[in-house]
């Protein structure tokens, strides 16, 4: 069940994509090869891009060696935002680390919450009630749309389409308002807990989400009117930064970057979690794996996310009033009313907050985040302090792939490549 989208197939009615291959620029340079016809060819120049460069989407520094305008070597330098999250998890304990997962990929906090919760649940052997899973799916898909909107806005502003930035950010702001109503926070929600979600929501909020979902596909059409058939957008993305499926696998790329290269690989379909197997949606895949294909894949993913959200809302209407948090006093806080009236529940609350221990062992759980496979590898020695919590960040692999596709190309392509690989330094540096 996948839709293979050739370039521009998702164009709104009445629009035709520009013909490919008409650009006069040549791109066929092996990495490191020197363009001897370039009038600027001569001594190599070292250029420091970042860590405050706006097109690096955070604090990424890339040391670039240029010959004329041609990139001879690119070396990403990460770590400027390193806050020692994995060490923090070891000293804080399993439960208190939830708030820190928000700050990893801060464009999709709920997705990180969920990936972490799923890993903990796997180690503890817990089941999440159906309504809890459905709320998670709804929030994860909204997070995906949010992260893709940021990708779209920032990448297009880097390539000169400044208006797009305001279009996508106004939509993202509306999702933030919805999340504010849903979870109580605009950003850094920490809404998802071990065993389910923190609280149930009012039906009015769900109606608001549905109203937003109903108008959003028309907005995606608007975005596409701005970009998909746009000559400048097309020329700066088509045939730029192409990756073969073999390269993607060798360089551990996952998510839209892998799907852009035509590999039908989506953890939501292949290794489903949170009940994704029961939703009806397609996996968009690209054809040649360039920046344009990655763009097209993300646009289509937003449409598919809307489809999943609508199905999730239908299910929420059916299961209204049902359990959304597992009833397991080893890991889930008792309701506040019971804590005030029952000694047993007070003890449970105290034990969970002070020293909640997970069973001895190791577990790895990965989710399909907006940037690829986001996984948590956790190891417990049976005490209340984690032995190890490794965060498998898709962004780090995306950064690593920059030199693979940038070397040998024009320096102006660097901006397209950085934008299309899509990473967030909070997650890369942890």
């Amino acid at each position: 069940m996948s839709t293979r989208i050739p370039a521009g197939m998702s164009l709104p009615a009445g629009m035709t994509p520009p013909a490919g291959g008409t650009s006069t620029r040549t791109f066929e340079y092996a990495p490191g090869e020197i363009d001897r016809d370039d009038p600027l060819h001569g001594e190599l120049m070292e250029l420091n891009m970042g860590p405050q460069h706006p097109a690096t989407h955070g604090v990424l520094r890339i040391a670039v060696v240029l010959d004329g305008e041609r990139i001879v070597k690119a070396d990403p330098d990460v770590g400027f935002l390193h806050r020692g999250k994995e060490k923090t998890c070891e000293s804080l304990g399993w439960r208190k680390f939830f708030v820190h997962t928000d700050r990893l990929d801060y464009l999709q906090p709920l997705m990180n919450n969920c990936a972490y919760a799923l890993a903990l649940e796997k180690l503890a052997g817990m089941q999440v009630p159906e309504r809890g899973q459905t709320i998670r799916v709804l929030l994860m898909e909204l997070s995906r749309v949010m992260a893709h909107l940021i990708y779209l806005g920032t990448t297009s502003i880097d390539l000169g389409a400044v208006t797009m930035f305001f279009f996508t950010f106004s939509e993202r702001e509306r999702i933030y308002s919805l999340l504010d109503a849903y979870t109580g926070h605009r950003m850094n929600n920490t809404y998802i807990r071990m065993g389910g979600v923190y609280a149930d929501v009012e039906p009015e909020v769900e109606r608001e989400v549905r109203a937003w979902l109903n108008q959003f596909p028309a907005k995606i059409d608007e975005f596409e009117k701005m970009l998909t058939g746009n000559r400048i957008w097309f020329d700066r993305n088509r045939n730029v930064g192409a990756l073969t499926p073999e390269q993607c696998k060798a360089w551990s790329l996952t998510g839209p970057n892998l799907r852009g290269s035509g590999v039908e690989w989506d953890l939501r379909k292949k290794q489903p979690y949170s009940g994704y197997e029961s939703y009806d949606f397609d996996i968009p895949v690209g054809t040649i794996g360039d920046c344009y294909d990655r763009y097209a894949v993300r646009i289509e993913e937003m449409r598919q996310s809307v489809k999943i959200c609508q199905q999730a809302l239908d299910r929420l209407a059916v299961t209204r009033g049902g359990e959304f948090l597992a009833d397991d006093r080893r890991y889930v806080l008792p309701p506040k009313g019971l804590v005030h009236s029952s000694m047993e529940e007070l003890i449970h609350q105290f034990k969970i907050v002070t020293d909640m221990a997970l069973p001895k062992g190791e577990a790895y759980h990965a989710v399909e985040a907006s940037k690829g496979e986001l996984g948590f590898f956790i190891a417990s020695d049976g005490t209340s302090h984690p032995l190890r919590c490794h965060i498998r960040a898709p962004g780090l692999m995306n950064v690593q792939a920059i030199p693979v596709i940038a070397e040998g190309r024009l320096f102006s392509d660097m901006v397209s490549i950085i934008g299309s690989l899509d990473f967030v330094m909070g997650e890369v540096d942890r």
């Binding site: 990460v78 770590g79 390193h82 020692g84 994995e86 060490k87 923090t88 070891e90 000293s91 796997k122 180690l123 052997g125 696998k249 060798a250 360089w251 551990s252 790329l253 996952t254 590999v263 690989w265 292949k270 290794q271 069973p359 062992g361 190791e362 577990a363 790895y364 759980h365 990965a366 496979e373 996984g375 590898f377 190891a379 020695d381 032995l387 190890r388 490794h390 498998r392 780090l396 692999m397 950064v399 690593q400 792939a401 540096d429 942890r430």
Partner: protein, 173 residues
Amino acid sequence: MSTQERVAVALGGIAHKIVPQRDDALVVEIDAAAALTVMTALKDRAGFDTNVFVTAIDRYPAEPRFTVQWAFLSTTHNDRVRIQARVAVENVHVPSITSLWPGTAYSERECFDMFGILFDGHVGLRRLLMPQGYDHFPLRKEFPHQGIEPDRLYREWDRARRERSPLRSESQV
């Protein structure tokens, strides 16, 4: 054929042990020195085409202290395997697998940065997240959470910068 059978066939002749884990993943323990042979077999004969992560666990005070973990994914067979090897603190050498999966370069650099595990054969094994010139391995258990001399490097860089500056005065130094 199950994942376990496929891996067993691929690793025929190489000493290995299946470690049962709480998640349903297949975890295989190997000898650290045989890592490259094992990974080659996994890639060529068992169809594991993607490396997911390379990391380590510090089990201090247990001996041998470190467990190096490699996780692999097969997009063709749709399954996963984790390989682990115990490494003592006196001899933290592990073969690098960057020749098989170039994408493990950053993961191995991070593992070296955080635990001091030396990946033999890695071209350019240097720190990834911590600054170059840092003396400690932060994810080792003896490293305190608040850090050791967290501002030493910054003071050194600052002093070097001031000494380079033509406008320096005695009071600044």
